[in-house]
């Protein structure tokens, strides 16, 4: 018997829901794929048809949240924002969507988004990177930054962004407000860098 597409989607969603619950309750590392299959009421073999690993599950949740955040970000723009403001809104809106997953994100992001060379690259992590950077590229285009060497700017940006994610995931302050100041600072730094503004310590006070 063939399962309908709708039933597949429901099953997939149920697995993700249960996985999220377990990750949040026990922590990512303490949750096994067996636990998730059991909670979702599916056979382990079936589950692997949907998700080859729990990293994939977690990063799928992350990507879905980020994508929703980016959609929402576009609706929040009114065209009057500066480059700094747009980038700030993008990151802010994405992180707000990511917030429910925050309790277990640390090890997930560390494994899936690590910028260092690895044996196996997590495809969902790569998707997260490319989709976010594409959105940033569009924003920069809107603000006339087409001339900046893209790979350099993207690498610098991505390093700052990973720093923000790392800080935000472990941020103990209320509403992660310490990270908000960091985002502000990091974006200003980035924009100043790609604007080619060179300021020494000896003027512009």
């Amino acid at each position: 018997m063939r399962i309908s597409e709708q039933a597949k989607q429901l099953c997939r969603a149920r697995i993700l829901d249960k996985a999220a619950e377990l990750f949040a309750a026990r922590g990512f590392d303490q949750t096994t794929t067996r636990d998730i299959a059991l909670a979702a009421g599916v056979a382990a073999g079936t589950m692997f048809n949907y998700f080859p690993s729990k990293e994939t599950m977690a990063m799928t949740m992350v990507n879905e949240a980020l994508a929703r955040g980016r959609e929402e970000f576009l609706t929040r723009l009114d065209g009057s924002e500066s480059l700094e403001e747009e980038l700030f809104l993008l990151i802010g809106t994405e992180l707000r969507r990511l917030r429910p997953l925050r309790p277990f994100l640390g090890p997930v992001l560390e494994r899936s988004l690590s910028p260092f060379p690895r044996k196996s690259v997590c495809p969902e992590g790569e998707t997260a990177r490319q989709e976010h950077l594409e959105c940033v590229r569009q924003i920069m285009l809107r603000h006339g930054f087409a001339a900046t060497p893209e790979d350099v700017a993207a690498t610098i940006y991505w390093s700052l962004y990973l720093g923000i994610l790392a800080s935000w995931t472990g941020d103990q302050s209320e509403n992660q407000e310490s990270s908000r100041a960091l985002i502000d600072y990091a974006i200003r730094t980035f924009v100043q860098m790609i604007s080619g503004v060179t300021q020494g310590g000896d003027h512009d006070c």
């Binding site: 009057s80 700030f88 100041a181 310590g201």
Partner: protein, 497 residues
């Protein structure tokens, strides 16, 4: 800038700096100039905030040199080896200063005051005094929106009928935006920069580190207590709900006919990080002065400022510890608006008692008792232990602070001689490093200095004693009916300093 022009400019700056430095022995001056130059020439890791690194301009360097000079005087009698060691600390201290996020502005202004005195005109000095407050970085509208989502789960334009994207005023911990409620009222919305509390904590930690190697000797314990006091009050300021409740208490102690307006708080649009209050129409001090107000108006505002301060002090034992001129709104109909009650300090019973005793001794003109109290509030056991010079100088400051209490009739706060005498004594105390005292005196001093700076510039006069007698309940049974009803058990009188 080419390397050559940079080099030339460096030499010119050094010469100008040397010229402006304190007059002391040539070698020491030169070393200090080199020290400041070497710190200022260092490039900061990033310059994304325009205020991040402010040691670059000549004025900032002069300021730094004075701060350094002042710090150095702490070990002026040390031998050469000690002196070299201390200069290493000094250099570290100046570098640390550049990394401070929140306190740097205030520290730099302190240096500027030390640097410009006594050559500065009293008016310039009066301008600087109230500027001794702290600054948070500016926020763009995107950040404001995110703060609102965190605090209310809504965007500003959803919460309000309209909301101005640009702030119209800076607040000590953030900024203020104009908005209109759906019910039509114009409001002022104060928004706190996210994470400012941790910046304050980090700055204070740096200050402790910075001061530890100095030879503060017996005063070190006192310095630590004062830094803890500063941290406590500044952190308390980050809770806007506490401020809202205090503003309400203050509001309740005035009746509309008195001409003093405390804006109403809108709790439904307020949180720990956002405070929405009634917007008061009016101008700030600069704008008022530009309009060349009549003497009558100047006197009226001085009268109202004195009444407001006294009322708070005598009724609630609270001090406004942030006498920022931006906190006074001069309203078009001659009323005075008071805004921003974030930085306040309530006196403890013990502190209040001491103030009462000082004031009584002063009014009795009991010099022996005054001396005893000055020694006590400076945390010494006896006049001998305190030393004559210190006793005389601290006494001069306290007597200046209390001078209006002893003056019958109209007191002229715009009198240049009066103002200069006070500043003279204050700067002398600072330069000598006579800083030991009760932690609460940080706020009383800051308050008196700030407020006197404002009324000096206003060139205002008022019948201080009459206001004092009425507000303290010392007018021998002639206390007004409202006052009597408001406060049946009148607290004992007190002095500012």
């Amino acid at each position: 800038m080419t390397a050559e022009t940079r080099r030339k400019r460096g030499i010119e700056d050094r010469a100008a700096l040397l010229d402006l430095m304190p007059r002391q022995e040539e070698a020491a001056r030169r070393r200090l100039a080199e020290l400041v130059e070497s710190v200022a020439a260092r490039r900061p890791p990033t310059t994304s905030f325009s205020r991040l690194w402010i040691l670059g301009s000549l004025q900032a360097k002069v300021t730094c040199a004075y701060l350094a000079y002042w710090l150095r005087s702490r070990w002026a009698d040390a031998d050469e080896r000690e002196r070299l060691k201390s200069e290493t600390h000094l250099k570290a201290a100046l570098e640390l200063l550049g990394t401070m996020g929140y306190l740097r502005g205030a520290v730099m202004k302190l240096g500027q005051m030390l640097a410009t005195f006594p050559d500065a005109l009293p008016d310039e000095f009066a301008r600087l005094l109230p500027a001794l407050h702290f600054e948070a970085p500016p926020m763009h509208y995107a950040m404001v929106r995110e703060v609102f989502l965190d605090e209310f789960g809504k965007e500003p334009h959803e919460l309000f009928a309209s909301f101005e994207r640009e702030a119209f005023a800076a607040a000590s911990l953030g900024q203020v935006h104009r908005a209109r409620l759906h019910s039509g009222e114009l409001v002022a919305v104060k928004i706190q920069y996210p994470g400012i509390a941790s910046t304050i904590e980090a700055d204070l930690k740096n200050l402790r580190l910075l001061m530890q190697p100095m030879r503060l000797g017996e005063d070190w314990g006192n310095v630590v207590a004062k830094l803890a006091e500063v941290e406590r009050v500044l952190l308390a300021e980050t809770d806007y709900l506490a401020e809202a409740s205090f503003a309400q208490t203050v509001r309740d102690s005035f009746v509309p006919e008195e001409g003093i307006v405390i804006p109403r708080v809108y709790p439904e649009f307020s949180s720990r990080r956002v405070l929405t209050t009634e917007h008061l129409e009016g101008v700030h001090l600069e704008e008022l002065l530009d309009s060349a107000p009549s003497q009558e108006l100047r006197d009226r505002y001085t009268h109202l400022m004195t009444v407001a301060t006294m009322r708070m002090l005598y009724r609630t034992h609270w001090l406004l510890a942030d006498p920022n001129p931006g906190n006074y709104i001069f309203m078009p109909d001659g009323r005075l608006g008071l805004v921003d009650f974030g930085c306040t300090r309530q006196l403890t019973d013990e502190e209040w008692q001491l103030q009462v005793e000082v004031e009584e001794a002063l009014l009795r003109r009991d010099e022996a008792e005054m001396e005893r109290l000055i020694v006590k509030s400076s945390l010494y056991e006896s006049a001998e232990e305190m030393g004559r010079e210190r006793l005389e100088l601290i006494g001069r400051v306290i007597r200046w602070q209390l001078e209006p209490w002893l003056t019958e009739g109209t007191f002229d706060f715009g009198d240049e001689d009066f103002f200069r005498r006070g500043m003279d004594a204050m700067v002398e105390v600072t330069r000598k490093g006579f800083m030991r005292g009760m932690p609460v005196h940080i706020w009383t001093t800051r308050f008196v200095l700030g407020a006197r700076g404002v009324v000096y510039r206003l060139k205002g006069r008022c019948d201080f004693q009459e206001i004092y007698r009425r507000e303290s309940g010392r007018d021998g049974g002639e206390m007004s009916a409202t006052m009597a009803a408001r406060n049946e058990t009148s607290p004992p009188p007190e002095g500012e300093g």
